[in-house]
């Protein structure tokens, strides 16, 4: 089961990557990142069956950090939206130069 779980995790991760590369809406890209984190969580949980509780502990941490990150990130996106009325990645290029 563990091997299949790891494979599933890899597939979900790849789907997340495809989403990041393909989409231009900032919020959807963000959600794809969450998908990638979930895939990794699955990996940890699967391997915790082998290596003990540490895996699950780490999953708790990942979730916590994901929550914090989502809060801050969405706050940033809101403030960008206030600035230029669009969350299209093409328009968010103030890091230019």
């Amino acid at each position: 089961m563990i091997a299949e779980a790891l494979t599933l995790s890899a597939v979900l991760f790849a789907i997340g990557v495809i989403g990041v590369l393909t989409r231009r809406n900032a919020i959807i890209v963000f959600m794809c990142v969450e998908l990638m984190l979930n895939a990794v969580n699955l990996s940890f949980v699967a391997l915790s069956k082998l290596y003990g509780a540490t895996g699950q502990v780490f999953v708790i941490f990942v979730m916590t950090v994901a929550a914090a990150e989502a809060a801050v990130g969405l706050a940033i996106i809101i403030s960008i939206f206030r600035h230029q009325e669009s969350v299209n990645l093409k328009d968010i290029n103030l890091l230019r130069g």
């Binding site: 990557v17 590369l21 890209v29 968010i92």
Partner: protein, 738 residues
């Protein structure tokens, strides 16, 4: 000047000969001083522009149309003349220059005579080499700047300094009103310096320095009145054509060094057994040297610059295009007699080309109207004779003809200079600025007005035609006799050139020589007839002002006239028991004796009866030539140039010098120019270098910059891409590890 101690052990070591380095130094000093004066004057009053005094020297008329633009004959009317209309200011330093310029030459000649006297009382079996300083020590090779005194170089030094001094004195009068007076003498002195280096060099590189230097000075002096483009073009043409010859000289030097390991004459003689006699290498070396000679000494195919060189002042033509520079080729072959005697094929080539040139140039001279052009082609033709001489191994005969030719050709040129000077004065007095002062059709009957010049030029004409006992007869006869003698039996006769047996070629060369002698007599007499005899065609106004040139110009003429007449005494042949026999031959024997013997091996001296027959033939031809000219040419039938009809038929071909310049232009110059323009310029320079390398580099930088800028585009999507690709790459690296 750094000086190594003069070599001991040579009989000349403690004599005046140890000052041989002073010989080239004196003219160099003259160049520096005159040059400084020229620049100093220029700083004050502006450049010594040939047209500074308002006179236009720019009527570069070509006699007979048809020359291509690139080879416009620059018959430049030289000599700026003063007359009443506008006062001409003589150059402010003219007096000083008149003292320095000829002065250093006279001093050099004095020194040369002193050294010569010392040499006469000493056994000169070995040359006296004075090493001045080390020049190029490179591993095994060691080239020094060294001067060599031996009979051959002494002969050349005497000719150069002696006739040079006479011409310098002549120039004082001829160039007296030219604004570029000090510049002229500076260049002339520089020329003498280089020429002395050429003949005094103890190795080929020093000779080459002189060789190139005289080419440079020739360019400077031909284009002396450079504000007229045709003159500048003539200078360029001379230099560029000479360069082709220089390339041959260089290749020969390289081959020589590669095979013998030495470039000085003594070293080459010591290592000569490394070169198999008659082999391909020696022949190649000699042929490449001869290529240099065809350039410098105006033989076929590179003679084309010499007629154009008449654009320079007449004394320049006398000095460097008659007496000295063009004889450098003959000197080279005489100096390399050891090599040429080992390569019969090369010697045959030299003789054949020389003979062909002699005849070819003589035919062209028949139909030239500019007096200087006649003399120019005559020079080419006589140079051909000299090459015939050294080609058949009669080195002393060739060099002797060099010396006598220097006498009478310098006399002819300076005489024509006097004529042109007088014609100019006459035209200016008559305010005639359109007629050509150099064209024979505008002259005629000048013997009434310039009797001294008339007599002297007849002396020279008789000499060049080969009338006994003038100098030209002795030298020309020696050459023709030698050709016949070799044809009967020698290493040359036994070998073959391109399949044709050597003896046949030599007989052909002999025939060419006779024909050229006939034509020489004809065209020289023609020149004299049209210039001095018959009615005068200068025009009534000008005719009254014709008079003899001042004594400063006629003086040197007299000296040269005497030399032309009695020069033959230097090398009297056996059938003329008028004095000591063969002095010149004996003098040069230590230098060229071995080579002469080697070439003549296999044959014997001519039977006295044969010799007399040959001499008789030569004399008969000379007299016949003069007679033909006198009988058939009617000076009275000539009209001034502006009214003269255009030539037709074969005469036109001759007048246009067989259209050789035009042929060269179409065959060589135009393809090179077009090739340069379309391939080298538009193709390589604009397309590849500018387009590909310069603009391409800029484009590449811009593209690289654009690519780099994409890294900082601020586009998060791009960043994500790069990130993922980086991850894949890193994982790929791990995959390799497994």
């Amino acid at each position: 000047m750094l000086q190594a101690p003069t070599p001991t052990g040579h009989p000349l070591s403690d004599t005046v000969a140890q000052f041989v380095w002073l010989l080239p130094l004196l003219p160099l000093l003259g160049f520096v001083l005159n040059g400084a004066l020229s620049l100093k004057a220029a700083a004050k009053i502006g450049p010594s522009d040939p047209s500074a005094n308002g006179h236009d020297h720019g009527d570069a008329h070509s006699d007979g149309a048809g020359a291509a633009v690139h080879h416009t004959e620059a018959d430049h009317d030289d000599s700026h003349i003063s007359h009443d209309d506008h006062p001409v200011v003589r150059h402010r330093y003219a007096g000083l220059v008149s003292l320095i310029g000829p002065g250093v030459l006279v001093l050099a000649f004095g020194l040369a005579v002193a050294i010569f006297t010392a040499m006469r009382s000493v056994d000169m079996a070995q040359p006296f080499v004075d090493t001045l300083f080390r020049w190029m020590p490179v591993s095994d090779m060691r080239i020094d700047v060294a001067l060599q005194l031996d009979p051959l170089s002494m002969v050349m030094v005497l000719v150069i300094t002696g006739i040079g001094a006479l011409i310098h004195i002549f120039s004082v009068g001829y160039m007296q009103d030219d604004p570029g007076y000090p510049r002229y003498f500076a260049y002339l002195n520089l020329f003498v310096f280089f020429m002395l280096l050429l003949v005094l060099g103890a190795n080929y590189p020093v000779m080459f320095v002189g060789w190139e230097g005289v080419g440079l000075c020739s360019y400077l002096l031909i284009g002396f009145w450079f504000s007229d483009k045709a003159n500048a073009d003539a200078g360029k043409k001379a230099f560029i054509v000479n360069r082709i010859g220089d390339f041959g000289f260089l290749i020969a030097m390289f081959l020589l060094f590669a095979n013998t390991g030495a470039l000085d004459f003594a070293g080459i003689a010591a290592n000569i057994d490394k070169l198999p006699a008659g082999g391909a290498v020696v022949t190649a070396i000699c042929l490449f040297f001869f290529l240099g000679c065809t350039g410098k000494s105006a033989q076929i195919p590179l003679y084309i610059w010499l007629p154009d060189a008449m654009a320079g002042p007449t004394p320049v033509s006398a000095l460097i295009h008659a007496a000295t520079m063009v004889t450098a080729g003959v000197y080279l072959i005489a100096r390399s007699s050891l090599l040429f005697s080992m390569a019969p094929v090369a010697s045959l080539t030299v003789a054949l080309v020389g003979g062909l040139t002699a005849l070819f140039a003589a035919t062209i001279g028949l139909k030239q109207w500019d007096i200087k052009k006649v003399l120019a082609y005559s020079t080419v033709s006589q140079l051909g004779y000299m090459f015939v001489g050294v080609g058949v191994g009669a080195y002393t005969a060739g060099v002797f003809h060099l010396v006598t030719h220097a006498f009478f050709k310098a006399l002819l040129f300076l005489g024509s200079g006097s004529i042109i000077f007088a014609m100019h004065r006459a035209y200016h007095a008559a305010h005639n600025h359109s007629d050509d002062a150099q064209d024979m059709r505008n002259m005629g009957g000048l013997k009434k007005y310039m009797p001294v010049t008339w007599v002297l030029m007849w002396v020279a004409t008789l000499a060049i035609a080969g009338i006994p006992v003038f100098s030209g007869f002795v030298s020309k006869d020696a050459i023709l006799g030698a050709v016949f003698e070799r044809a009967q039996g020698s290493t040359l006769a036994s070998s073959a050139l391109l399949g044709i047996p050597g003896s046949t070629i030599l007989y052909i060369v002999y025939a060419f020589g006779l024909a050229a002698a006939l034509l020489t007599a004809i065209y020289m007499t023609r020149m004299m007839l049209y210039t001095f005899h018959g009615p005068n065609r200068t025009g009534a106004g000008a005719e009254a002002s014709l008079r003899e040139a001042p004594w400063i110009m006629t003086g040197p003429l007299v000296v040269l006239g005497v030399l032309s007449a009695v020069g033959g005494w230097l090398n009297l042949p056996e059938f003329l028991p008028l004095g000591p026999q063969g002095v010149f031959d004996k003098w040069l024997e230590p230098v060229v004796g071995d080579a002469t013997t080697r070439i003549a091996a296999g044959g014997g001296a001519l039977a006295p009866s044969t010799e007399q027959a040959l001499i008789g033939t030569a004399v008969a031809i000379a007299i016949a030539g003069i007679a033909i000219a006198v009988v058939r040419l009617k000076p009275a039938a000539l009209v001034p140039k502006k009214n003269s009809p255009e030539a037709t038929g074969f005469a036109k071909v001759l007048e246009h010098k067989y259209y050789v310049d035009e042929a060269y232009d179409k065959a060589i110059v135009q393809p090179v120019v077009n090739g340069s323009k379309y391939i080298l310029w538009k193709g390589v320079d604009v397309g590849i270098i500018d387009g590909l390398f310069v603009n391409g580099a800029a484009l590449f930088a811009r593209a690289a910059g654009w690519m780099g800028s994409q890294l900082q585009s601020g586009q998060i999507g791009t960043y994500a891409w790069v990130l993922v690709l980086g991850v894949i790459a890193l994982l790929g690296a791990f995959a390799r590890v497994h």
